[in-house]
């Protein structure tokens, strides 16, 4: 760790992020601007999440990093190596053993417990951005709780496809106040945001925003009375562990149309296979 402060960031930066995190927790779902730093990885690779993790991580914490549910994909491996190198922390792939979990676009299948912190990597934190490009306007819309346009967007789905076609980054309302982008997690994971005993922190490095959902906070996915929110379902079970209740990835196995469905959460799948064997 020679040449670096513990966990890479300098203490001044950590304190700035600490203060912003306290405000984010005090105003659940509100995007707090923060002085995002250049990290030794490009934007889009989780610089927001990495800065939050670096700010909260302690020497005795056990860290887990997942990318689309998997512990062994490029983004997860490189971020895990980064923190092994700059903080010397112990890492794990077991959801239950981790104190801090940094995630790209999934919430683990194994229920989280009180005391755990889940850090999300967020590309575009503003749920209204694709409807209203102006930051000044979206800020005002949040201030005035002017969220009707979000329902119009979902309604347009229904008008065009007969159902709500948004499948990821599905907008939620936090504690009945702020509409929030839960990051590009599949809407399958949205119910896990509601009343979760773990603290959930969201970091957007390029946009320099962070926000939070404290434990046990009501989080509802936006919907309509006659078109209630629904999660994805599969006709298949996981080809490896047989789970019929996890989020499945479709994997192409050859060039003759062969395919299989497997759990996206590798720890969940491997644990189940260990249990079964």
């Amino acid at each position: 760790m020679d040449g670096y402060n513990f966990a890479y960031l300098d203490e001044q930066t950590k304190r700035m992020i600490h203060r912003a995190l306290l405000k984010a927790v005090a105003i659940p779902g509100y995007q707090v601007p923060f002085g995002g730093r250049e990290m030794p990885m490009p934007y889009g690779w989780g610089t927001g999440g990495v800065q939050l993790t670096a700010s909260i991580l302690g020497a005795d914490d056990i860290l887990k990093v997942i990318d689309q549910g998997a512990d062994d994909t490029t983004n997860a491996v490189s971020i895990r190596h980064f923190f092994q190198r700059v903080a010397g922390v112990e890492t794990t792939t077991a959801t239950t053993a981790a104190d801090v979990i940094q995630t790209r676009h999934r919430i683990p299948e194994t229920p989280l417990r009180a005391g755990q912190i889940l850090v999300f990597q967020v590309p575009i934190p503003e749920p209204l951005r694709f409807i209203e490009p102006s930051e000044q306007e979206t800020r005002l819309m949040h201030a005035l709780e002017e969220y009707g346009v979000m329902h119009v967007k979902l309604y347009e789905d229904i008008a065009r496809y007969g159902h709500i076609a948004t499948t990821y980054a599905y907008p939620v309302k936090v504690d009945g106040r702020y509409v929030m982008d839960p990051s590009p997690i599949p809407k399958f994971d949205n119910p896990k945001l509601d009343g979760n005993p773990a603290l959930m922190l969201f970091g957007a490095g390029r946009e320099k925003r962070l926000y939070a959902i404290p434990p046990y906070t009501p989080v509802e996915s936006l919907d309509f009375e006659d078109h209630p929110f629904e999660i994805q379902r599969w006709e298949h079970s996981c080809a490896l562990c047989g789970s019929d209740r996890s989020y499945l990835d479709e994997v192409i196995t050859d060039d003759k149309g062969g395919r299989m469905f497997v759990c996206s959460d590798t720890d969940y799948c491997q644990t189940r296979r260990g249990d079964v064997a």
């Binding site: 306290l22 405000k23 984010a24 005090a26 800020r139 404290p214 434990p215 046990y216």
Partner: protein, 212 residues
């Protein structure tokens, strides 16, 4: 010369022995307190000196100051806590700027006795509610008991929090209860009593049903 050394030795305001790891540990405790309002946590660090009137601050709030304040923050100090020793220690250890104007303060140090609901702390704006003063308040006691029930984000059902019976403590509770009406603008409070710390952010509903 010797006398002066003796004096400063008695009145030494402790800093963090291991800044990187101590501030991380203390921050996680404060983050836990803020994200689960009303839970009590004990901060382990040396207490500030017991020289009146600044003996009132206590180890927990001094730890919060050391963890959260630096040259980018402005701190407002209530008259009953204010002393040259505290100002010196604050400037020496954190580099924070001390302000007389509560509306410009990021953090305010006060006691339940000096709490005045009329003090114009920053509540943030509707578009930037995060630009609000965080109050660090010395209270009479901290216990998970009594008629004040907290609910809301961070609390599974309800949690009782007792900060004391003084008029100041009642005023603090009333001020917290008023946060809901102005949400998302409002005041977040961190309470300290000796080494014990608890926090109540503006998202918390405070229900003080007096039993009589």
């Amino acid at each position: 010369m010797t006398v002066k050394t003796e004096m400063t030795k008695d009145l030494v305001w402790p800093g963090l022995a291991d800044p990187a790891h101590d501030s991380q540990r203390l921050f996680r405790q404060i983050l836990g307190a803020m994200s689960e309002p009303g839970t009590l946590t004990t901060l382990a660090l040396p207490a500030p000196p017991q020289a009146a009137p600044s003996d009132a601050l206590g180890a927990a709030l001094w730890g919060a100051v050391l963890t959260l304040c630096d040259l980018e923050t402005r701190v407002w100090i209530a008259a009953d806590l204010d002393s040259p020793a505290l100002r010196q220690a604050l400037t020496f250890h954190t580099g924070a700027r001390i302000t007389d104007d509560p509306v410009s303060a990021d953090f305010a140090l006060l006691t339940h006795e000096s709490f005045d609901p009329q003090t114009p702390f920053a509540l943030g704006s509707d578009t930037y509610p995060d630009r609000a003063t965080t109050l660090l308040v010395v209270v009479e006691r901290l216990a998970n008991a009594g008629p004040s029930m907290l609910s809301g984000p961070g609390i599974e059902t309800t949690r009782a929090l007792d900060i004391g019976d003084s008029p100041g403590c009642r005023a603090l509770k009333d001020r917290l209860a008023a946060n809901r009406a102005s949400f998302p603008r409002g005041l977040d409070m961190i309470f300290g009593c000796g080494a014990q710390l608890a926090a109540v952010p503006r998202s918390t509903r405070v229900d003080s049903r007096e039993v009589n």
